[in-house]
Symmetry: none
Subunit: 263 residues, 2 copies
């Protein structure tokens, strides 16, 4: 699926093969919000099928800085025309009860869409009307349905929210982040090497001695716990210096207390 | 980390430990949209920190059927109070330039949040002001930052869109659909709640004062670095007790040195 040497497979080129299609949108404000949502995710092809009111001031207002997306939006009378050149068409549904379509989760849908686009195919993600969604005849133009697994008791994502979620998944796919579980580095990459940590631990042990922390108990147990704690933290160089500065002052204070005691 | 036989680990019980915190929201309409966004994803705990206008008709209007979420929203004056009982606090940032926090992608952040909540911990996802985000002092209360990988040329997701994306990832985690455990145990599951950490930080600040660590410099910078270090570590209760014992001895020593100096 990956073709890193193909110049045609850069994220931008691939994104240019992905279109977001809004069918029969009732509120022009939603067209603007959808434009903004897809642009935040690095997409830019918006296609409108028979919008009820467009162009419209509400669309401009909600698009914020995505007016270029609105201005370049293609417009068709029917979904069939809007997806005529597409190799893969995904219909977003609240629940595809009416048509027996394969139903994909957003992540799998994005992976499938991305694979098609990477391979040079044109891909459409289709969103229906605010209240009634896509009609039967429109769903029949889709290769699969995509369903956002919403709260069954309150599944009313608005149009722009649904576009946001699907565009987000497309973006992760474009960035190549879907599969690999971005192995989260458990400690900072700036963590000092162990040898430097040992110097800190030695001074820490001396300080505990100086401030009479152990009070007769064996020092091993406390030092073991402190070692575990600071090793886990992954201290960087500045932090080691800061902590050793604090220890130095505590040692100085203990010495002062001791000297005065001796007099 | 999984305990499927534990009745306490049903998605609803776990969801009840996840709170969405909005800090200093300027437009009440955004509070309503955010309420709707989180409810569509099966969450219901909204917490407001110093909202500029609330309650407000715009919030009701945008919440659509999520008025129950609005009505039950808790309200605090400061973020510290809002997350006092939390074991894991995630700050949503456009980019965490200012504070050296570990930055997680939404998927990993949701997995980590879910793991904590599954283990019985209270978890907060924190969203800042529309224009200015979270302040430095607020980010310092966070164990990690979460960043939605938006289009660098147009990264202005609105507040509700960001809440939608993060809530969606939390829902996938609740449904057990995130690709398994990129074993993101970011902090120990035994980590103490924030309020307990604050007691430790207060004593640490007092100790630095007592041992004359600052020597005329402003104490803020050192404390900020130390906070970051210990929040990242995820201290458990025994560790906090151990560290506070050491501080108490250092304070005692400083007092002794001072007393003897005065004679």
């Amino acid at each position: 699926m990956q073709a890193p040497l193909n110049p045609d497979s850069s994220p931008d080129t691939v994104a240019a093969r992905l279109r977001i299609v809004l069918v029969g949108t009732q509120h022009p404000g939603n067209i603007g919000s959808a434009a903004r949502a897809l642009k935040t995710m690095g997409l830019h092809r918006l296609v409108l099928v028979a919008p009820q009111k467009f162009p419209h001031a509400d669309a401009e207002a909600m698009a914020a800085g995505a007016d270029d997306v609105l201005a370049s939006a293609a417009r068709f009378d029917t979904l069939a025309e809007a997806v005529a050149d597409c190799r893969f068409v995904l219909g977003c549904t609240a629940r595809s009860r009416r048509v027996q379509l394969r139903e994909l989760r957003p992540r799998d849908a994005a992976a499938a869409a991305h694979a098609q686009a990477l391979d040079g195919g044109e891909v459409a993600l289709v969103f229906g009307r605010e209240r009634t969604g896509l009609e039967n005849s429109e769903l029949q133009l889709c290769h699969a349905a995509v369903h956002i697994p919403a709260n069954p008791d309150y599944s009313s994502l608005n149009l722009a929210a649904a576009v946001q979620v699907l565009s987000y998944e497309l973006r992760l796919a474009l960035l190549g982040e879907t599969a690999a579980p971005s192995a989260v580095a458990p400690v900072s990459t700036d963590a000092v090497p162990h040898a430097q940590l040992e110097g800190f631990f030695a001074q820490l042990a001396d300080t505990l001695e100086a401030i009479d922390f152990h009070k007769g108990r064996a020092p091993d147990s406390a030092m073991r716990k402190l070692r575990r704690l600071f090793v886990r933290t992954g201290l960087d160089e500045k932090e080691v210096r800061l902590l050793r500065g604090i220890l130095a002052d505590a040692q100085r204070m203990a010495q002062l207390a001791g000297e005065r005691r001796e007099r």
